[in-house]
Amino acid sequence: MHIKYESIVREPLVDGDKDYHQVTEDIISPIERKPGRMWYVGFFFSVALLLYGVFCVTWEVYWGIGTWGINRTIGWGWDITNFVWWIGIGHAGTLISAILLLFRQGWRTGVNRAAEAMTIFAVMCAGQFPIFHMGRVWDGFFVLPYPNSRGPLWPNFNSALLWDVFAISTYFTVSLLFWYSGLIPDFATIRDRAKTKLRKLLYGVASFGWTGTAKNWQRHEALALVLAGLSTPLVLSVHTIVSFDFATSVIPGWHTTIFPPYFVAGAIFSGFAMVNTLLVLSRKILHLEDYITIGHLEAMNKVIVLTGSIVGTAYLTELFMSWYSANQYEGAAFKWRIAGPYWWSYWAMMTCNVVSPQLFWFKKLRRNIPFTFIMSIVVNIGMWFERFVIITTSLYRDYLPSSWSYYSPTWTEVGFYLGTFGLFFTCYFLFAKYFPIVAVAEIKHILKTSGEGQKKRMAAIEEKSTEEFVHEQEAAHAH
C-alpha cells in the first residue's frame, strides 16, 4: 500500500520491528505507570526553584527595580539577556514542527512533540522578563491597545518594543494551537485505552471528543500544513523583531542590518541545543530510545554545526564592519567588547559558540551521546553570553567617559533567572508525565516506510545481486 519506497541506505527512524499496537504501548504506557523516583526528585527540585524565583520577583516588585544591579548607563542587564535567551530557545521547536514539516523531513516526527512543548514553556519563561522589567508591573496592561479613559491614548505602534508585544503573544498563541491540535488524536488514544474512570474523564475532555474519522483526519492534515506554513514566517519574524529592539536604536554595536538573520540563526542554534539536552535525558528515562534514535540526535547536531557556523560568520562580519565602516564609535564599541573589562564574556561567547560546535564535523562525535549532551549545555552557555555581550558591552562605555560604568547582577536578578528554570522544568516534568512526548499518530503514519521492520524487508531485496534477483523473478513467473 505504501507507494513511497525507502531504501535501506537511509537509517530507520523507528528502531525495532514494531507493529502499530507496540508503538501505542511504548509511548502511552509511561503515562499510565507511576513515575519513578527520578521524576519526583526532578519535579520537586524544579518546583522549589520556581518558588525561589517567585520570592525573588516578589521582592523586586515590592522594593522596586533598584534591587537589581542595572544603572543609568546599563539599563538592560541580565533581565533582557535572559528574555532573548529563552525566546531564542523556543525557536527550535517551531523550526522542527513547522519548517521541517514543509521540507518533508521524516525525522521530525520523533522529536516534534517534545520540541514544541519546549517552545511553549520557553516562551512562557521569556515573557516574564520584559513584564517584570516594567517595574510598575501592575500597569503592564498599558502596552495593549484598548480604549481607555486617558484619551484614549494608544501605544506607539512604531516602536520595536510594541512590535515585540504583538510578535511574542502571537507566537505563543500559534505555537500552542499547533501543539494542541496535534495532541488531540493522541489524547483520544489514551482515553480509549484508559482503565480508570478519572483518566477516561480527563483525557475525554482533553481529547475534545476526537474519534478519527476519515474526514477529521483530512482536515487535521490540512490544518497542520497551513499552520506550518504560517508558523514558518512567524518564527523568523519573531526573532527578527526581537533583534529590532536593538537594531532600530542608534547605539554603536546595536545599529546594524545584520541583526535579524544573525539573531534567527543564533536562536535556532541554541534551541536545538536545548532540544538535545531535553531529549537525551527523556529518551533514557522514558525508554524511548527506539523512537528518538541516535540518528535523530545526529540530525540535530548537524543543524547545530550549520547554525553555529552562521553565527560565527556573523561575529566576524560584525568585527569587520566595525573596522571597515571607519566609524570611531563603532570601532570603540568593539574594542571595549573584545579587550575591555568584559573581555571574559566576549571570549566565553567565542569559545562556546564558534570554536566548540566545529567538533561536530566529526561523525563519531555527532553520534556520541555524552558528548552531545555536554555540547548542548556548552552551546547554551555560549548563547547566553552572546546576548550578555550584545547588551552589556554595547552599553557600559557610552559617549561620555564620566558615565562609563560596570554592571553585575544582584541576588534578586540571579534568583529570577533561576526561577524561570524552575518554571520551565516544572512544566516539562508535568508534560513528560501526563502527555505523550512522542507523537503517536505521526509515528504510526511513517512506521511502514521508515521503521526498521520495513527496512529489513527491503534489505532482503536490495542486498541480492542482480543475477540472483532476476533468476528468482524468472523462476517465480515461470509457471
Binding site: M1, D19, Y20, H21, T24, P145, P152, W154, N156, F157, N158, L162, W163, F166, A167, S169, T170, T173, V174, L177, S181, P185, A188, T189, D192, R193, L198, K200, L201, Y203, G204, V205, A206, F208, G209, W210, T211, G212, T213, A214, K215, W217, Q218, R219, H220, E221, A222, L223, V226, L230, P233, L234, S237, I241, F244, A441, E442, K444, H445, K448
Partner: protein, 190 residues
C-alpha cells in the same frame, strides 16, 4: 441526533482496508464512516470525500487580520490621535508592517483552528460513540448504517468476505452530544 443500528467491521491493515472500502461502496450499503488511528493518505479519495476548504477559511481569516491591523493603526495615527514622532509622517506604512504581519498570522491561525473545531465537531465536553476501543490504537474500523431493508446477517457475512478481523452489530448515537467520557450512556446500557 439519532440512535441507529450499525454493522461494524475492524481491519488490521491499510492494505486490507482500501479494497474493503471500495467493495462496500460498490455494494451500495450506506457507509457511515471509517475510523483510523492515524491519517491514511488516499482514504478520503477512496471513500469519495471532497477535498477540504479549510485553507480558504484560513486565507479569509488572514485577510481580516491584515485589514484590522492596517485599518486600526492608520486610523489612530492619522485621525484619532495623531502624534508627531520626530517629524516622521503620521501614516508610516513600513513601521506598521511588523504588527500587520503578526495580526494576519494570529487571525488566520486562531480562525482556522476554531473553524476546524466547528467542522470536526470537537470541543471539550463533546462525546461521540466509539465503535471499537482500538480504533485509535491499531485497528481501522468501518461502520455501515443498517435500516429496515438491510439484513444484519447479510451485511456481516459480506464484511467478513472483505477481510475484517472482527465484526459485530451495534446500536449507537450517530452524531455528537455533550457528555462525560467516564459514564455510559442510556442506549449503551439498554
Amino acid at each position: 441526533m439519532a440512535i441507529k443500528k450499525f454493522a461494524v467491521a475492524a481491519y488490521d491493515d491499510e492494505e486490507v482496508l482500501f479494497p474493503a472500502v471500495k467493495k462496500v461502496r460498490h455494494s451500495g450499503y450506506k457507509m457511515h464512516d471509517v475510523y483510523t488511528p492515524f491519517p491514511v493518505h488516499g482514504l478520503d479519495q477512496a471513500m469519495g470525500l471532497k477535498e477540504t476548504d479549510l485553507h480558504t477559511a484560513g486565507f479569509i481569516f488572514g485577510l481580516c487580520g491584515t485589514s484590522t491591523a492596517l485599518g486600526f493603526m492608520s486610523w489612530i495615527f492619522t485621525s484619532d490621535w495623531p502624534i508627531n514622532f520626530g517629524g516622521k509622517p503620521h501614516f508610516s506604512l513600513p513601521a506598521f508592517i511588523p504588527i500587520t504581519f503578526e495580526l494576519t498570522v494570529l487571525f488566520a491561525a486562531v480562525g482556522m483552528v476554531m473553524t476546524w473545531c466547528y467542522l470536526n465537531q470537537v470541543m471539550p465536553g463533546v462525546k461521540k460513540h466509539v465503535f471499537h476501543p482500538r480504533q485509535s490504537d491499531d485497528l481501522f474500523v468501518m461502520a455501515i448504517e443498517l435500516n429496515e431493508y438491510t439484513s444484519e446477517q447479510e451485511v456481516i457475512d459480506f464484511l467478513k468476505t472483505t477481510g475484517a478481523v472482527e465484526t459485530n452489530v451495534q446500536v449507537a448515537e450517530d452524531s455528537w452530544w455533550y457528555g462525560r467520557w467516564d459514564k455510559k450512556e442510556a442506549y449503551e446500557l439498554a
